[in-house]
Amino acid sequence: MITKMNIANIYVIDQDSACDFYVNKLGFKLIDDIPMGPGTRWLTVSPPEQPDLQIVLFPITVGKMFPQETADTMIDLIKKGTFGCGVLQCNDIYATYEELKAKGVEFIKPPTKEFYATEALFKDDSGNYFSLQPKEEGNSEDSV
């Protein structure tokens, strides 16, 4: 019986830059940073309030998993913004949007009311995108 997901992957182009982005811009916690030989680390981060979910910042390095051609294609697709990596939850979407924008995060959609939620979309430093949504719909506007 499967009970939960505790490790997920996000393919990134540069682990140093991705680590800086997820930790210093998004405010994730750095969990593990274990060197695995030249150019590769086991690098995991967690959303601040969800320590039991580790996200691997998985490098696209040429090797067994990514032969040159595959690596080139993956990097190209990531840069083009092909991959959505999920929905991130925040307390207040407008405040989070302003904060991330102030830190230089690139948004491809500002907070917008959709039928399912108020949603914003932003990209990580590689080009992967996330949906940002508030914890409970309807609270943000009433809070200020």
């Binding site: 490790i7 750095l30 593990d32 274990i34 060197p35 695995m36 030989g37 590769t40 086991w42 691997v56 998985f58 390095t61 090797g63 067994k64 998993m65 307390n91 207040d92 407008y94 405040a95 302003e98 904060e99 102030a102 830190k103 959609k109 500002p110 907070p111 917008t112 506007e141 809070s143 200020v144």
Partner: protein
């Protein structure tokens, strides 16, 4: 492209500026007056707005910010006393007390646990990396992975 118009954007920006001010100056002697000045608000109005957005008063947020940074420093191996002053506390007693209250263990126990983990990682890094990842990165070759693993 959808509209960027949403309610009370300037209020949001000011509260966010105050939050970023705390993030950037948590290690200095800042207090509520500095923080509310940063947001151009009267103190009590500011506290109420800040709490409605972040779920914590500015003071509670500053404290949690300091303790979070302290956890990072201790993980990196900084001694407890250095950490205490680096994150803006004057007294080791108040630092240790608050750390224990928020994290659940004392800073020295926290430091020791991470030191222990670090030394285990340096001896057998494979034990901390899932096999599939290690395999894809060629770690099975030229290594005693199977013996070292669990």
């Amino acid at each position: 492209m959808a509209t960027t118009h949403y309610p009370k954007v300037y209020l949001y920006r000011r509260i966010v500026q105050a939050k970023l001010f705390i993030d950037n100056h948590y290690d200095e002697k800042i207090d509520l007056d500095n923080i509310s000045d940063e947001a151009y608000f009267s103190k009590y109005h500011f506290i109420r707005l800040f709490k409605s957005i972040y779920g914590k008063t500015p003071h509670q947020y500053l404290r949690s910010c300091r303790i979070n940074k302290a956890q990072q420093l201790l993980q990196a191996g900084k001694p407890v006393t250095d950490t205490c002053f680096l994150v803006g506390f004057d007294s080791l007693t108040s630092f240790s007390g608050l750390f224990k209250k928020l994290v659940g263990i004392s800073p020295s126990v926290y430091l020791a646990k991470h030191q222990q983990k670090k030394s285990k990682i340096s001896k057998a890094p494979q034990a901390f990396v899932p096999g599939c990842y290690a395999y894809q990165n060629g770690w099975f070759e030229n290594s005693n992975f199977e013996e070292a693993r669990w």
